[in-house]
Amino acid sequence: MTTDSLSFSPASHADLAQLALRVREHILRMSTDGGCFTGASLSCADLFVFLYTRFLRIGPDRLSDPERDYLLLSKGHDVPALYATLAELGWIPVERLKNHLKTNDFIYWHPNRHLPGVEFHSGSLGHLPAVGVGIALDIKLRCGQNRVVVVTGDGELDEGSVWEALLVASAYRLDNLVIVVDRNHFQANLPTEELIPLEPLAPKFEAFGCAVERISGHDFAQMEVTFSRLPFQTGKPSVIIADTIRGKGVPSIEARADRWFCNFTHEEVEALLGELRGEAQAHLTSETLTVR
């Protein structure tokens, strides 16, 4: 595990939890004045904090280093979690998050490569597994040691292109490719199991030639152990199914189908920030289920 180029190296899992708390605060602050995909961002906040502080050999000082690891955010609608993590780690000024949805910057509902740390744009689901295959292929061609992490959603797994890319990744024995599924158990409007059931999920990936582990996406200790074992099997792409809770950390929107895209009032955001810190549950009156 290399953290040498990181601008911030938390010593303990408690530090990671503190960092994740601040990331979630940023996500909630972006959930107003137009809003964002709050639930899906909160579900993968812990994953991003872990990946950027403990796993990825990457940093703002090595953006063009061909030896760096890659993180590709395929479920692009959770980009507030990524930007908040990058801001907390010093890749971009925290102040810049206030440009959310403003025309003077590129911080909008899906990732833009103008932001340092965004390797590729996304938003259309099912694209970055294929892009990751291309990057991983080139790394293999150059005998590189870098890893390519592709974070997907679980609803995103409905897209056939994900599975097409996995077939090719398996055929080319891309064991430098890691698919991390933010398994928050919801697609846009419904629980995945009520619409297009994904379970049993691990055997599906195994059948496509991947080596699979399933962990809690909110447990830093489990992440530490599991990510340190990559690749799980020589010659096979790795898949980590990270079980998470959509809206994690904010009980009044946790695991609720109707809190996908959220555009809260300023007062509600303040109440939710309190909730995040363990204070009383917020009373929400904002319209729910604003489908974008």
Partner: protein, 299 residues
């Protein structure tokens, strides 16, 4: 020299070149042992090929992607637009059997909207060589450009010797004061044979090989419109979005009004058959083109 010879020469001198295919090896058969791991066949997975090509291009490679035109363009369109187009990556698309070249395959295999769709993508360049020699003259510049590119491959040989190629320039074969034929791809040869037939009717006929459709040679179109009484666009493509549309856009942009006769496929797919029969059935042989151009009402 042929297509794979050209790739071999360029790829051996430029390690950025990666040859990809979605299991379409018609013009690539000898390349796997030559290119080794730089030959990547993803199987019948066009979306993954294009997405992976974007990933390779992000790492500094120049992927040349092969598939049958309809699957390269239509199956993978959103990947071309979103991964290659938005990022403006130097991914080179080589489409096989576009237009009438799909012969007897049927409508599933007919890429007759490819020019319209490809040129709609911001930054994408579009080229349709007239024959194998034209294509071989064009590809080095197209692949050396930093822009994404779409090329209708053609391996048909003709006895015509083409002028050197320049991106954005048409090949003006000849000028004429009555009619100028604007054509691209395999129909260039038919149009070339049409010229003497029209001359027998006493017409002064120009001929332009519109090998670079995007960027297009506006100057050549404007000049033809000003010096010729009528322009005739000839294409194995739908009327919508192809050369006829390009000419209309250029004329409007320059405030010009001209008589333009489109010879294209109008709101339909063509009848599948062997190429010579397709040409005859659809009215694109030299004799038929001459007849359609000299129909009463058009003279």
């Amino acid at each position: 020299m042929n297509y794979q010879e050209l790739i071999r020469q360029i790829a051996l001198n430029d390690e950025r070149i990666i040859v990809m295919t979605a299991e379409n090896r018609a013009v690539l058969r000898e390349l796997p042992p030559v290119l080794g791991e730089r030959f990547i066949d993803v199987g019948i997975a066009e979306q993954t090929m294009i997405g992976a090509a974007a990933g390779l291009a992000l790492r500094g490679r120049i992927p040349i992607c092969h598939a049958l035109a309809p699957f390269l363009i239509y199956r993978a369109y959103e990947f071309v637009r979103t991964d290659v187009g938005i990022a403006h990556l130097p991914v080179k698309l080589s489409s096989w059997i576009a237009g009438f070249l799909s012969e007897a395959n049927g409508p599933t295999h007919q890429a007759i909207e490819d020019v319209a769709l490809m040129r709609a993508i911001p930054g994408m360049t579009v080229f349709c060589p007239a024959d194998e020699a034209d294509m071989l003259a064009m590809l080095p510049a197209i692949w050396a450009s930093p822009d994404p590119a779409y090329v209708r491959l053609i391996v048909r040989k003709t006895d015509y010797t083409h002028a050197p190629f320049e991106i954005g320039k048409a090949e003006v074969i000849r000028e004429g004061s009555d009619i100028t034929l604007l054509v691209y791809g395999l129909l260039f040869e038919e149009a070339r044979q049409t010229v003497p037939l029209l001359e027998q009717e006493g017409l002064s006929v120009g001929l332009i090989n519109m090998r670079s459709l995007k960027p297009v040679d506006e100057e050549a179109i404007v000049r033809a419109a000003k010096t010729s009484k009528r322009l005739v666009t000839i294409e194995d493509h739908l009327l919508t979005g192809g050369l006829y549309s390009i000419v209309a856009e250029v004329l409007l942009k320059h405030g010009l009004s001209a008589e333009v006769q489109p010879l294209a496929l109008e709101e339909r797919w063509f009848h599948p058959a062997l190429l010579s029969d397709v040409l005859a059935h659809e009215g694109f042989t030299a004799e038929q083109l001459a007849r359609r151009i000299t129909l009463p009402g058009w003279v």
